[in-house]
């Protein structure tokens, strides 16, 4: 089986030569366009696929995996999800072969590195009974330097046809371009999110709170800023998300380790970060709404279905505006000054009253207090808690989760691991609940707006009302899940165990 990357242009392929050679074997060439238009190159942040000379391409709802290194069992080009595709072991568990685009959402660790136009064709050689005796897969990417991936797909028992195809391919191109996948992917990803992933320093018994807090703050702010280019290029919503995740982390370092910094400067910096975050709220909200597109189409009676398109269309144009707005802000001189200023302010942050304290002890004591607070809040919950009660619990869990992330790494005790897992699970559930609350607010405001329109669009209003109903149901489901989880994880015995284990770490 022959396949590889070639620097050549599709139109330069000598089709007639192949036709003439085929005719001598009584075979006829037919060509079929499988895909054409925009193709997205996907990989994870470490370019793990490309490092194995694999390229994952998404186009028109299909996934293709291209490889120059056949492992004997898998064809070089295969189409997912209809056929099992060869995933590197590490990614296997994250890729579910189910219909796109839903399949892509659980694999957020994969991101779109680039969008290029291109086409995929299949060339078949058939005999006079229209039996396919061999075929070629040709992927062409419209890059400044034209690039093609060509693969001979053999058919058992038709070795003469295979030889013919191989000879033709070898005659067409002077040489293959080795490891093209990696250079291509990195070419498409000259981008900090993909290259820079500094981990936070792990504290030891000797680390001072002040120094540690400052290094974490600098690292997470830098990681946030590393996404700016990606946001501007708008290749993937993941960049904005990562920007916000890291900003949020910086803000929690600032507030949870407050005593490490001098009060007034700490407050000023916190305010700056908050403003920065708020400026991205609108676009992120719209991204979240659009990622939940499927939710807006679920369980609709036939007569209402067209309304979903209307909503999605409106969201898209709103998003377009929000994106333009944010990206011109990001490109402005003022913004660049602001980011430099923030980095400078962090470097200059004066130490606070607790800066000399041992970081580990400080952080773990704080975590202990936070866990005690969670237990207290959880005990106050009735079986039908108010939104506010759940909201408070969510904030407490989030703080505890950050503290655990910051101050427990390396610990492998069973109870500690259990704590980390419980916090993760709880924050996810609480996050789901919060998402539904936000969604509900948003839907209500859309509904209100729509009801004030003259003349009013009755079907659209009915649609929004239905969505509100669905949202209320989901909110209730999320609420029930939280209660169940709390009952399961926070029994009296396990509470005591947890607190004891935490005390021991201090």
């Amino acid at each position: 089986m022959l396949g590889g990357w070639y620097n050549a242009h599709f139109d330069d392929l000598d089709k007639s030569r192949l036709q003439a050679k085929a005719a001598r074997l009584g075979l006829v060439l037919s060509t079929h366009s499988l895909l054409s238009g925009e193709l997205q190159l996907l990989d994870n942040a470490d370019l793990e696929l490309a490092a194995q000379d694999l390229l994952l391409v998404k186009a028109q709802g299909k996934l293709l995996l291209l490889s120059c290194q056949p492992d004997g069992h898998h064809p070089l080009i295969c189409q997912a999800p209809t056929q099992a595709i060869f995933y590197p072991a590490k990614l296997q568990s994250q890729l579910t072969p189910s219909p796109l685009p839903a399949a892509l959402s659980p694999l957020r660790s994969l991101q779109t590195l680039a969008r290029v136009t291109g086409k995929l064709e299949q060339w078949l050689l058939q005999d006079d009974w229209q039996k396919t005796c061999g075929s070629l897969m040709i992927l062409h990417l419209d890059l400044p330097e034209p690039l093609m991936f060509v693969q001979v797909m053999p058919c058992r028992g038709f070795s003469r046809c295979e030889t013919l195809l191989e000879q033709w391919v070898l005659g067409q191109f002077s040489e293959t371009t080795a490891s093209k996948a990696f250079s291509l992917a990195s070419h498409c990803s000259e981008h900090p999110l993909v290259t820079a992933r500094s981990a936070l320093a792990i504290p030891t018994n000797q680390t001072d709170l002040g120094a540690l807090a400052k290094s974490w703050l600098a690292a997470s702010v830098n990681m946030a800023f590393a996404n700016i280019q990606g946001i501007q290029q708008d290749r993937d919503t993941e960049y904005l998300h990562q920007f916000r995740v890291n900003l949020r982390k910086s803000r929690s370092v600032l507030s949870l380790l407050k005593g490490g910094f001098a009060g007034p400067q700490q407050k000023a910096l916190a305010a700056q970060l908050r403003t920065l975050m708020n400026r991205t709220n609108e676009l992120r909200d719209l991204d979240v709404h659009l990622l939940a597109e499927d939710q807006y189409r679920e369980n609709l009676p036939d007569n209402i279905k067209p309304q979903a398109d209307k909503l999605v269309q409106r969201l898209r144009s709103k998003r377009q505006r929000a994106y333009r707005h944010l990206s011109s802000m990001l490109a402005s001189k003022a913004f660049q000054r602001q980011t430099r200023q923030i980095q400078q302010d962090i470097a200059d942050l004066p130490s606070g009253p607790k800066a000399h304290k041992a970081a580990l002890e400080f952080g773990r004591k704080k975590l202990l207090k936070q866990v005690q607070r969670i237990i207290q809040l959880a005990q106050q919950l009735s079986f039908d808690p108010s939104d506010q009660q759940i909201h408070n619990l969510r904030l407490a869990c989030k703080k505890a989760r950050y503290l655990a992330e910051f101050f427990l790494p390396g610990l492998t005790g069973k109870t500690i691991l259990h704590l980390a897992k419980t916090l993760k699970k709880l924050t996810t559930l609480l996050g789901d609940f919060n998402d539904q609350c936000v969604q509900q607010q948003e839907l209500n405001s859309w509904l209100l707006q729509e009801q004030q329109q003259v003349p009013s669009d009755h079907s659209y209003i009915a649609y929004l009302q239905l969505l509100c109903q669905h949202c209320e149901d989901k909110k209730q489901q999320a609420r029930n899940k939280i209660i169940r989880q709390l009952l399961k994880q926070l029994t009296a015995a396990s509470q005591q165990q947890l607190l004891n284990a935490l005390r021991k770490t201090i």
Partner: protein, 248 residues
């Protein structure tokens, strides 16, 4: 590897149509399948656009396992290969007798095929030859299409008698109704009666009489491909699902 023989001592009952469609469905389900066209007329090869191989000198074909392997052709479907017909009736007799002998070259050839395939589907020619015994003993399952007409009881009973006489395992027999016309009272009555008498070896899925299946020869492809979504294809899918349950 499981060997499934599609067999009936009656001609034209849908053996070839069933072999081709089932082979296609099995392959689609992810199993590696080799469809062996044992019919000298090469009907199932024809459905997969494969020409019978050049006449090989019969004997070496079976003694030389390389030759057998080389004759296997890839179909246009993933996971599905075909061993096209290239035997005359004499060849077929040899084939069967070799199959019966434990140490024969054929057995060795099958062994090398064994690693490559999950299912070996034999599309048998209609023959009442005593050599059928070899097929029955080497197959894990014998799939028998039955047209529910007056004569079908006789054929099924003949087959059962044959199994009894030769001390073959009757539980290998899986029969199903083929070319059923639900508008025909006779068909329905026969099906009911046979179900009462031989319920244990009758599958519950039947294949209806369908113009889509008749047209396989025009399209030269399994109906489960070119006519997927039609009731006929759906019945074959149901049949395959029922079989899959039995096999596991």
């Amino acid at each position: 590897m499981k060997i499934i023989a599609c067999y009936s001592n009656k001609g034209g009952v849908g053996k070839t149509a069933s072999s081709a469609n089932l082979a296609h469905l099995m392959a689609q389900a992810g199993h590696k399948v080799l469809l062996c066209d044992l019919d000298p007329q090469g009907a199932s090869s024809f459905y997969f656009r494969l020409k019978p191989a050049k006449k090989l000198s019969e004997d070496s074909f079976f003694t030389d396992q390389d030759k057998l392997l080389k004759a296997i052709k890839g179909s246009d479907y993933d996971n599905l290969d075909v061993l096209p017909a290239n035997m005359d009736f004499r060849d077929f007799d040899i084939f069967l007798s070799r199959m019966a002998k434990g140490h024969s070259a054929l057995k060795k050839a099958l062994k090398s095929v064994k690693k490559e395939y999950d299912f070996l589907l034999l599309d048998c020619p209609p023959t009442i030859s005593m050599l059928s015994e070899s097929v029955f003993s080497c197959a894990d399952w014998v799939l028998v299409p039955v047209i529910p007409s007056t004569l079908s009881e006789r054929t099924l009973e003949q087959l059962l008698d044959f199994f009894t006489q030769h001390q073959l395992e009757k539980h290998k027999i899986l029969a199903f109704f083929s070319m059923v016309q639900v508008s025909k009272k006779l068909h329905l009555e026969t099906m009911q009666r046979l179900n009462e008498q031989h319920g244990d070896l009758l599958l519950s899925t039947f294949i209806p009489f369908s113009s889509h299946i008749e047209r396989m020869g025009v399209h030269r492809a399994p109906a489960t491909d070119f006519a997927k979504g039609t009731p006929a294809a759906q019945h074959y899918l149901d049949l395959w699902r029922e079989l899959a349950k039995r096999f596991s």
